[in-house]
Every structure is written in C-alpha cells, then in structure tokens.
C-alpha cells in the first residue's frame, strides 16, 4: 500500500512541477492583460511618449524596435550564415577551428550587459564618426554581436543536418564546393537557418540591458528621418519604454507599461509562430 501511495505522491509532485512555470506565466499574463487591455488602442500605438500618461504612446519605441530588428538581421544574418558555412563545409578539423568553435559556444553564454559594454566602447565611442554615437546604428551592431553566436550555431546545425548523400551527389556531377553549398545545401538548410535566426532575433527584441548600456533614451519625441541619417539618430525600444514607465510612481503609467508589454508579447509570439511555421512548412523530408 505504501508503494502505491508513494507512486501517487511522486506523480503529483512531478505534475505540480510541470505546471508551476506555466501557472506563473498565466497569472502574469492575466495581470498584464487586466491592466493593459483597457489602455490599448490605436492611439496608444501611434502616439509619442508624454508626461501625461493618458496621452502617452509607444510609437518611437515600436519604430525603434522594428528598425533595430531589421538592421540586426541585416548585419547578423549574412555573417552568421557565412561563418556557419565556413565551419561546416570548408574548415578542416584542427586546433584553430576547434578553438573558434569553443569560443563561439562560450560567446552565446556571455551576459548581455557585457555586449552592451563592448558596444559602448567600440561602436558608441571608438566608431563615433561612423555610427553617430548613441544611435540606432550602434544599437543594431551591438545586438548583432549578441545574436551572432546563436545564428552561427543554428546555421551549423541546419547545414550539418543536410544528408551527406546530397553533397556526394553534387560533387559526383563535377560541381565545386561553392556550387554545392549554394544550390543544394543552403536551400535545404534554409528553413532551419531562418528558424534559428528568428528565434535569435526574438531574443534581441526583448533585450534591455545592452541598449541601456550604450545609451538608448527612454524619451524620444520624434521619428527617425526617412534617410540614411536615420541610422545615426537616437532611439528607444519597447523594453526600455516599458522599463521607464514601470519605474514611474504614478499608477497610470503602470497601465501604459502593461499595454506596451502586450504589444511586445504579440510581436514576440508572432515571430516565434513564424519560426515554427517556416520549420514545418519548408523542411525537406528525405524518404
């Protein structure tokens, strides 16, 4: 009898452990929705921040997050995929490449604020002439460094998952390595690479610490100009706006923060959904 009782207890314990995380998330979500939904409106999304909480909106933060995302993808994706191709297809297995591999794996685990300090020193200060200092350009470059290891690792995994037989088929027809990579390996690996990239970017969109370090502002009352100058303009992003509002004493700003969190969550969840869709829709199944 005692055995059966223990068995049940253990099952219950594992079940509770499973739902604890979920439960907390649900409570959090309900809380955020309760506070934020009444505040959420088209006007909230299209307004600039303001001292008056009822008039304040997230437009610059939303635009900043979108620009940061696009720029980060533009910088990090080609470099990450190219590095993945090099490590999987070209690099020979020697001490040097193994060192690089260990390095990349470790980079993925470095706290994001370190990247912020790096960005501050290199992009904001040393390269001020190009980046314009505390600009969206500096922010995107910093974020690119942050997501690069993740993109490299997921590119490598996707490339490695392409069956060897496909490579052999290509080489046996007299193709060069580049032709095989370009026409046979990358198309098959691309859904996996894109999935990894989107997941990496959805990490970037929620990051706050490195951007605070490099000096993203919370109060931006204008949109970047529609020209290359936009790259050098000061910026803010959703998490920083949220952080700013949460730290205000007035209750009304907390509602604003909750509403902004809803927007950020919708953005994040749709990116993750896109990643899952890509993976399921375009994955090539052999056999």
């Amino acid at each position: 009898m005692k055995e059966r009782w223990l068995e049940r207890l253990f099952k219950a314990l594992t079940f509770i452990s499973t739902i604890i995380g979920l439960l907390v998330l649900v409570i959090l979500l309900i809380d955020v929705l309760k506070d934020g939904l009444p505040r959420l409106s088209w006007k909230f999304i299209t307004s600039f921040p303001s001292r008056n909480p009822d008039e304040a909106g997230i437009l610059p933060a939303l635009v900043g997050s979108a620009m940061l995302l696009i720029l980060t993808a533009l910088f990090a994706f080609p470099i990450g995929v190219a590095a993945g191709i090099y490590l999987e297809e070209y690099a020979s297995d020697n001490l040097f490449t193994r060192l690089i591999e260990i390095n990349i794996a470790n980079l993925a685990g470095i706290p994001s604020i370190i990247y912020g300090l790096l960005g501050l020193e290199i992009f904001v200060r040393a390269l001020r002439g190009i980046t314009g200092g505390r600009s969206i350009f500096s922010g995107a470059l910093t974020m690119s460094l942050l997501v690069l290891p993740i993109i490299i690792v997921s590119s490598r995994e996707a490339i490695r998952a392409v069956p060897r037989s496909i490579r052999e088929a290509g080489y046996a027809l007299g193709a060069t390595k580049w032709q095989v990579v370009r026409d046979q390996i990358l198309p098959v690996a691309m859904p996996g690479i894109l999935t990894g990239t989107i997941l990496a970017l959805s990490r970037a969109i929620g990051e706050t610490a490195p951007l605070i370090t490099i000096g993203a502002l919370a109060y931006i009352a204008f949109l970047p100009p529609l020209s290359l100058k936009a790259l050098q303009s000061p910026f803010t992003v959703l998490p920083i706006q949220i952080f700013n509002w949460v730290s205000r004493p007035q209750e009304a700003f907390h509602a604003n923060a909750a509403a902004a969190i809803i927007v950020l969550l919708v953005l994040l969840l749709s990116m993750n959904a896109a990643a899952i869709y890509l993976r399921n829709r375009f994955q090539v199944r052999f056999e």
Binding site: D93, S165, E168, A172, L173, G174, A175, T176
Partner: protein
C-alpha cells in the same frame, strides 16, 4: 553453384581498344591504415566491369578512387596512378570537377536532389554554363536511362516522390546528362527490390554499348549476369585489400584460378 551453370553469361564482342582507365600501383590509406594495397587493374572501354568481394574489403574505396571522391574523406590518402585516357587523374594540374563530370558516380542509396525531376538533371548542366536547349538534354538523358515514359508527364514533380528504382535511374540520367563517359556504380541495386534491380541491370547492359561501366556489387548473381569482366578483391592477413583475380567474368565464375576466388564465388565465406 547450380545457378552458375545455367546462367547465360553476357557475350563479349571483340574489344581491341586501349583500356579507358588504367590503375597502377594504387595504395590507399585511411589515416595510418593501409586499406588497399598495390592495385593494378585495366578497365576496358565500353564494357561492364564488376568488382566483387566480401564487405569491407575496399571495393567501394577502389571505385571512389576512380573519380577522386575519396578526396572528400578526411585523412584518406591515395598513392599511385589512375590513368584516364592516358592522363593521371591524381596529377596536380588536373581539374577534379572535370574528372568527376567525365567519370560519373551512382551511389548505393539513390540520392536525387530534393528538387524537381527536371531540375535534378538540368543542374549539372547549368553549373557549367550550358547555353543550349536544356529540355532536349533532359529528355535525351531520361530516355537513355529508360525513365522518360514513366516521368514525362510529371517532369516538375519532386524527385523524392519517385520510387527507389526510378530515383536510381534518375541518378544515372543525371550523370549521363553532364557527359559522363564512365559510370561508376557503388552497389546501385542493393537498396532496391528485385524487379527494380533487374531493370537497372538491363539498363546497364544497354548503356555499355556507349559507356564504360564499373559496378561494385556483393551480389554474385548480379555480377555474373551483368558484367563482362570481374575483379575479385579480398583482404590479406593484414586486412589490406588486394586484387586477387581479374579476368573475363565467365572465366572467373566457371574456372577461377585462385583458391580464394573459388571459395568466395561458391559461397564458402563472405
């Protein structure tokens, strides 16, 4: 060996021509291990040469030396010469992509690209900047590989939807399309059902009028049915693959000179 007596061996027209591939003093190492030792072998033009032997004896390694596919295996090392039309394919001024185009390869497991049937064949030409009529070449290659009638209405369907036998014939068509003169086949029928396997054999016999074919097989009936010449490879006491006997298939199968060949083809081991 009753099946041997009954089996009609392929007849052999006179072939006074120079062998198309000459293997001279070939040694192959994987790391420090010698896997093939001192192989000398002439591959006659427009004939089917079968390479038989127990698994792991180095048959596949040997055939992969003939179009330098072993280059892709890290720490594989080849010593000696493989003369193709009189030129050593391992000499430093040889363009390996050109060698692989002229000496095509078909693998044990069919490996079409996960693209359309048409694209599978067209790609090999496109990457060489082929400017002519692709449709024509695709049709010709598919006809040569006896696949045209089965796929002509679905050229743009994904090649992975074809059956295993069809996929394997597509792989043969793909090699023919880029202008291969020699076809190396590494157990091309071992992953197929018997009917599909027979179709491949039939196709190979057909193709041997215009192409040189080297086929690795562990199926001795298949070797006897399809090939004109047979090379028997086996490891020696140091587990190094050696060429034991080479000659006309009918001689090897009816009158082997070496005791080991006889033991192998009568099924005493391997």
């Amino acid at each position: 060996m009753s099946w041997l007596q009954k089996m009609p061996l392929p007849d052999l027209p006179d072939n006074p021509e120079e062998p198309i591939i000459k293997i001279r003093n070939l040694n192959v190492w994987y790391g420090n291990r010698l896997v093939l030792g001192d192989i000398n072998l002439d591959i006659p033009r427009n004939r089917i040469t079968a390479i038989i032997g127990p698994s792991g004896c180095g048959k596949s390694t040997l055939i992969r030396c003939l179009n330098r596919m072993n280059d892709l295996i890290p720490n594989a090392r080849v010593e000696g010469q493989v003369l193709f039309d009189g030129k050593n394919i391992y000499s430093s001024d040889v363009d390996v992509t050109e060698i692989r185009r002229r000496i095509g390869m078909v693998f044990q497991k069919p490996n079409p690209f996960p693209k359309s049937i048409y694209e599978n064949i067209a790609w090999g030409l496109r990457i060489r900047g082929f400017k002519g009529n692709l449709d024509e070449v695709v049709e010709r290659a598919l006809r040569q590989a006896a696949l045209w009638d089965e796929v002509k209405d679905k050229l743009h369907a994904n090649a992975l939807t074809l059956s295993g036998g069809q996929q394997q014939r597509l792989c043969i068509a793909r090699a023919l399309a880029v202008g291969s003169e020699v076809l190396l086949l590494d157990e091309p029928a071992s992953a197929l059902d018997p009917i599909s396997a027979l179709k491949i054999e039939e196709l190979l016999r057909e193709l041997s009028r215009d192409y040189t074919i080297v086929i690795v097989t562990h199926n001795m009936q298949q070797a006897a049915r399809v090939s004109h010449y047979t090379a028997f490879i086996m490891w020696d006491d140091n587990r190094v693959g050696r060429l034991i006997e080479y000659g006309l298939t009918r001689d090897i199968f009816t009158n082997p000179k070496d005791k080991r060949t006889e033991d192998y083809i009568t099924g005493r081991f391997g």
